[in-house]
């Protein structure tokens, strides 16, 4: 091979050249977006809604999960006492239980207190008046130290339930465990939905890029004719896919935040009804970043998929 002038005026070094090629592709594709914003917006909107669904569900679940976590972490047992146990004995027992290890707090609720509370919350005051006797038992509420191992707390509750004064024991933990199980089931469903929707985004972007390729068939033909490499021809389409994905991610974040703004007031009223008050939040920074990352990755992949399949078909000659 003979060195010729053509080699020396090949221009900048490879790194510089790569940066320059990418900068040109970015400029061209962003210019194309600016020239027909409506078409881009339409595709971005479809992607936005598709991405907003799992992001919104995830935020909802995170709030629910946070709500559950925000509930008093102590495990609580209610020991219902036999009617034969006197209030004095009940109070003594309450103090005795409070001294046991792994117990963080106790409270004695007399039959009268229980009735008063029931009257206040149940709205069945008239019905209660019809009864001659107070049907409610006295009870001791026992809060276990949540830092203690679960097995030890269960053993403790079992011991307490077996006390001769205790008629029946009930653990509040059960509904919490069930709720947690339901939430983790829904979380799994969200993951599955997200996977299905990711495929949707891939297809939407792939199809949009396929149409772009079809519209620019002549340009691709000419580029191949004058010796443009596959990477050069592919690059603008990959960037287009990236822009679609990022624009979609941006719209998805807007939609989730919009939904949060619309739901915030009633959700906070609901949260306030729970003791301790749930701290509700909108789209977290991490989730927003995940949405942008997913959008970008799916956009690029969808474009890559179309471009590798379709560019081969367009040949000059």
């Amino acid at each position: 091979m003979t060195p010729s002038k053509r080699v020396t005026d090949a221009g900048p070094g490879w790194a510089e050249r790569l940066a320059q090629d990418h900068a040109r592709a970015i400029r061209t594709t962003l210019g194309a977006v600016a020239r027909r914003p409506f078409g881009t917006l339409l595709t971005a909107f479809v992607i936005g809604i598709t991405l907003a669904l799992p992001a919104g569900l995830h935020t909802l679940l995170a709030n629910l999960g946070g709500g559950i976590g925000g509930l008093p972490q102590t495990l609580r047992a209610s020991l219902f006492l036999k009617d034969t146990v006197s209030p004095e004995r009940g109070l003594t027992l309450t103090r005795e239980i409070a001294r046991r290890p792994d117990v963080s707090g106790t409270a004695y609720i007399s039959r009268e207190q229980a009735l008063a509370e029931f009257r206040r919350y149940s709205g069945l005051a008239e019905a209660l008046d019809l009864l001659k006797d107070n049907p409610l038992p006295a009870s001791i509420v026992v809060d276990a130290d949540a830092r203690a191992p679960r097995a030890r707390i269960e053993a403790l509750f079992k011991q307490l339930a077996a006390l001769p004064e205790v008629e029946e024991a009930r653990y509040d933990e059960q509904w919490l465990t069930r709720l947690q199980a339901i939430v983790s089931l829904i979380q799994r469903l969200v993951l599955l939905t997200a996977a299905a929707l990711a495929v949707t985004v891939l297809v939407v972007i792939g199809n949009t890029v396929r149409l772009d390729i079809e519209n620019r068939r002549e340009e691709i033909r000419v580029l191949k004719l004058i010796g443009a490499g596959a990477g050069y021809i592919r690059r603008p389409f990959l960037y287009s896919g990236l822009w679609y994905g990022l624009a979609g991610a941006f719209l998805a974040c807007l939609l989730v935040e919009g939904g949060w703004l619309a739901l915030r007031a009633p959700a906070q009223r609901l949260a306030a009804l729970y003791e301790g008050g749930l701290a509700l939040h909108g789209l977290s920074f991490e989730v927003a970043m995940a949405v942008f990352g997913t959008g970008a990755a799916l956009g690029w992949l969808g474009a890559f998929w179309s471009v590798t399949r379709d560019l081969r078909r367009i040949e000059p000659g």
Binding site: R24, R221, G227, A228
Partner: protein
């Protein structure tokens, strides 16, 4: 002519499309480095096929082709693009991109080579100047006449200074004056060392030019004794 002196060498090249009749049969010829030659023949005689084989737009069914010392059979896949960058191609339809200005159209071969902006500006203007269209750089192809579009296509083919120029019926859509002007352009590029192969059926146009004429008829190539002899007229151009 030794192999090293040749820009294009065809050795017993046959070509057929699918199961059809042979478009080229047993074609052998050579184009020297820095030579300009014409291929003539009726339409359908295989002129375009011959050029397509050189540009790797088609592959021969049999025979060997060497271009600039390279065996074309060995150029495959990704290397085709790099090979095509060594050839300037001109067609009867200049296939310009309608949504780009004349400047941007001519700049394409430089963009794919990754030249910097300043280099591109300088070279595109030089190429447009050579075809007499410097004042049209901001125009869009649709606003140009057929002859002007063809000259933009020529500027695009030569802007990267390829060592070989192929032209397929470049004057097919042009009036005689414009056609003569385009042929003069090719001669000018040839005089600065570019090898040029032009397929044309405009015999009247090339009669007076000092170049070899290869005649294709029914897929068979024969060399026409140039009239007048090239050596005699070459200096007068």
């Amino acid at each position: 002519m030794s192999a090293a002196d040749a820009m294009i060498v065809f050795e017993h090249v046959h070509h057929r499309y699918g199961e059809g009749p042979e478009v080229l049969s047993d074609t052998s010829f050579a184009l020297a480095r820095g030579e300009m030659a014409f291929i003539t023949g009726a339409s359908g005689a295989g002129k375009s096929t011959l050029l397509n084989l050189i540009a790797l737009l088609a592959r021969p069914s049999r025979g060997r082709i060497r271009v600039d010392g390279r065996e074309l059979a060995e150029i495959r896949g990704r290397r085709i693009a790099a090979y095509r960058r060594c050839i300037g191609m001109i067609f009867q339809n200049p296939s310009l991109l309608a949504d780009r200005t004349v400047f941007d159209n001519v700049a394409l071969p430089l963009l794919i080579r990754g030249l910097s902006g300043a280099d591109i500006g300088r070279r595109v203007r030089a190429a447009l100047d050579a075809v007499g269209l410097l004042h049209k750089e901001k125009a869009y192809p649709a606003t140009l006449s057929g002859g002007e579009q063809q000259r933009v296509g020529i500027a695009r083919a030569v802007v990267a200074k390829p060592p070989l120029l192929l032209a397929d019926e470049p004057t097919g859509n042009l009036d005689p004056d414009m056609a003569r002007e385009v042929m003069r352009l090719f001669l000018r590029f040839n005089q600065v060392g570019v090898s040029v192969l032009v397929a044309t059926h405009a015999l009247g146009l090339i009669r007076d030019l000092p170049c070899r004429v290869l005649r294709l008829s029914g897929g068979v190539l024969s060399e026409q004794a140039p009239d007048p002899a090239p050596e005699r007229t070459f200096d007068t151009v």
